[in-house]
């Protein structure tokens, strides 16, 4: 750190930083960290208060005390009596799981064709994919609802799952961006070895794109897990098929002012995705970066 205090009159001696500048830099660094720490506390506070409230008794949650006394862990069991959370959880898991599988099976080939194969009309199709990605879902929602109602699928999770089996625009976009970064030489080498086009796709490109596949699958699963508009629209009338987000949104309206139970349910809903985040943090950050920088 304290390198060569020897005075050098040469022009390149700018290494030696004047004391005033050094002090200023130190102050700036301290200020930076202070602001960051303050913001970090503010960002964590909601979680802390949600957890604390989830551990309160009903009476206490109605008071202005912030610290639970005693810790009331049974809230987490009670919420299962108040609402069929387990059932909502299964529904949510089915929706998210089936949607993700379908998305992968249908979107990978499309992204491959849009990035690694040359054909007429490819650019036009890619622009159409971008357009479907950018338009609000509400634009087509009325006819879709009518269509699924004619198929007698309203009240089930199928209207949420089925479209994912026909390619998801965001996933296609993301996968394409990643496939483009894979050099063609690998595929060409496989072709020289006599691999068919299908094998080239599955065994060379897809294998090299594994991190992107993981990220896209995570995004898709999370989108479905967190989705509210779709489940509200299609399963709203049939409580048996509610997902966690719909069930939780109604929870508070059904159980007036019991913030402790509401927060316990909220925590149970958040916990799996937060656990997932910590388990796959690297994939997330890389995936998000892919959307913004390369995409």
């Amino acid at each position: 750190m304290e390198a060569a205090p020897r005075p050098l009159p040469m022009p390149l001696a700018r290494r030696r930083i004047p004391k005033a500048v050094r002090r200023k830099r130190l102050l700036v660094a301290v200020a930076d960290h202070a602001v960051l720490i303050g913001l970090a506390i503010a960002f964590l506070a909601p979680f802390v208060f949600i957890i604390l409230t989830a551990l309160m008794t009903s009476d206490q949650a109605l008071s202005s005390h912030l610290w639970p006394e005693p810790f009331h862990f049974s809230n987490f069991a009670d919420v299962f009596d108040r609402a069929p959370l387990f059932r909502y959880g299964v529904n949510t898991f089915l929706y998210a799981g089936l949607a993700t599988i379908g998305m992968l099976i249908s979107s990978v080939p499309v992204a491959y064709a849009l990035s690694k194969l040359r054909w007429k009309g490819r650019d036009v199709v890619f622009i159409l994919v971008l357009v479907t990605m950018m338009l609000p879902p509400q634009v087509t929602i009325v006819p879709l609802y009518v269509m699924f109602s004619k198929l007698h699928l309203i009240g089930s999770i199928w209207p949420l799952v089925i479209p994912n089996w026909f390619g998801d625009a965001f996933s296609i976009f993301l996968l394409r961006q990643f496939f483009l970064t894979i050099p063609d030489e690998y595929a060409d080498a496989a072709r020289m070895d006599g691999a068919g086009e299908f094998r080239v796709m599955l065994h060379v490109v897809v294998r090299l794109a594994k991190p992107a596949l993981v990220a896209v699958a995570l995004f898709s699963f999370l989108f479905a897990w967190n989705d509210f508009f779709g489940p509200l629209l299609y399963t709203g009338e049939n409580q048996n098929n509610w997902t966690l987000s719909v069930g939780l949104a109604q929870f508070r309206t059904l159980h007036q002012v019991q913030w402790n139970l509401t927060m316990a349910a909220t925590l149970l809903f958040m916990a799996p995705v937060i656990a997932l985040f910590f388990a796959a943090q690297k994939a997330f950050v890389e995936g998000v970066t892919l959307t913004g920088v390369k995409g």
Binding site: D32, A40, L66, Q138, V288
Partner: protein
């Protein structure tokens, strides 16, 4: 079978024999069939779940339709009602515009500032990144519920803490003038994705640019103005664009905040629909009104007219974005 099938790498362009021509045409045809096979899921999905609903939506917007009886042609009546008589449309448009014009820039600015501070931090970079990203993981419904609780005027921790230091806390989600700012705070809490993107972009700014700027005697602001901002401008544009797109479809937070806050104010459990936009339509966003008209009142013709207007606006935004996409979409690898 043939080795000249794939890859587009054609051998020597010597005078082709008819045999060769046929083989080549066969190969081209096979390649096209393969593309078609790969694209088929999307083609079918695009037609059924996008193209057809889009066209049918336009047709329905000229009809009266309640799902039970067949659509009845009413000409421009829905549009006349939309632009003239409906008392709720303009508040809804105003609220949606408010989120796009005020909340989105604030969120982008916040994300940028945090990312900038993290790049300059020496200690705990990983910790800060995780903390600021974490709220993004909270499902929208859960995050909104949490915030309505945190800011509830009676027992919420925010007003409790404000009270402890002698400030009378406001009504937050139950106040018509503060409900949207409260939702903005919620948005800022969930700004992690944008922050991560800014962080990556800031770390990508070539170091030597800063060094040469410094040699030229550029101060902090000049380096920011002439090096950082120009280099990451595509990312700023991207963040704003994403914000606008999300602003146009802003639904979940508004729905949950209004229905839950209304319940807490003693509005009674009852039918949540009546509470959409609570308080006083201040959180009635355009997609919420569309949902209410279409799927609560089953005015599906009218909801379609609303959808068509949303389509027109979003298409305009999309066209602007795509025409400038070369500015912010960086195509890695060779692309034409």
């Amino acid at each position: 079978m043939s080795t000249a099938v794939a890859g587009g790498a054609v051998g020597t362009p010597a005078a082709p024999t008819p045999d060769r021509l046929r083989a080549r045409r066969k190969a081209a045809w096979r390649r096209r069939r393969f593309v078609l096979l790969l694209m088929s899921p999307w083609l079918v999905g695009f037609a059924i779940f996008f193209g057809y609903p889009l066209i049918y939506s336009v047709y329905l917007s000229f009809t009266h339709y309640d799902l039970l009886s067949a659509p009845r042609w009413v000409g421009l009546a829905n549009y006349r009602f939309l632009f003239g008589a409906d008392q709720q449309v303009w508040p809804a448009v105003y609220n949606t515009l408010w989120m796009i014009v005020i909340a989105v820039p604030l969120q982008v600015l916040f994300a940028f500032s945090v990312a900038l501070m993290i790049t300059r931090a020496r200690l705990g970079v990983g910790f800060f990144r995780t903390v600021f990203y974490l709220p993004t993981m909270a499902p929208a419904v859960a995050a909104t519920l949490g915030f309505v609780f945190l800011f509830n005027p009676a027992t919420g921790p925010v007003n409790t803490i404000l009270g402890a230091i002698g400030i009378q806390g406001p009504l937050w989600f139950q106040s018509p003038s503060l409900s949207k700012p409260s939702l903005t705070l919620l948005g800022i809490w969930g700004v992690g994705n944008t922050m991560i993107i800014f962080l990556a972009a800031l770390l990508d700014v070539p170091k030597h640019l800063y060094e040469s700027a410094e040699l030229d005697g550029a101060g902090w602001w000049q380096r920011m103005r002439w090096v950082t901002l120009p280099t990451i401008s595509p990312v700023i544009l991207f963040a704003v664009v994403i914000g606008v797109i999300e602003g146009l479809q802003y639904f979940t937070e508004g729905y949950v905040a209004s229905t839950v806050a209304a319940g807490g104010a003693g509005g009674g459990a009852g039918d949540a629909t009546n509470n959409l936009g609570y308080p006083q339509d201040s959180t009635l966003f355009y997609p919420l009104l569309l949902y209410q008209q279409g799927f609560r009142y089953f005015n599906m013709g009218y909801a379609s007219a609303m959808a068509v207007m949303l389509l027109v606006v979003s298409l305009a935004v999309t066209v602007v974005i795509l025409r400038r996409s070369d500015r912010f979409v960086h195509y890695a690898g060779a692309m034409r």
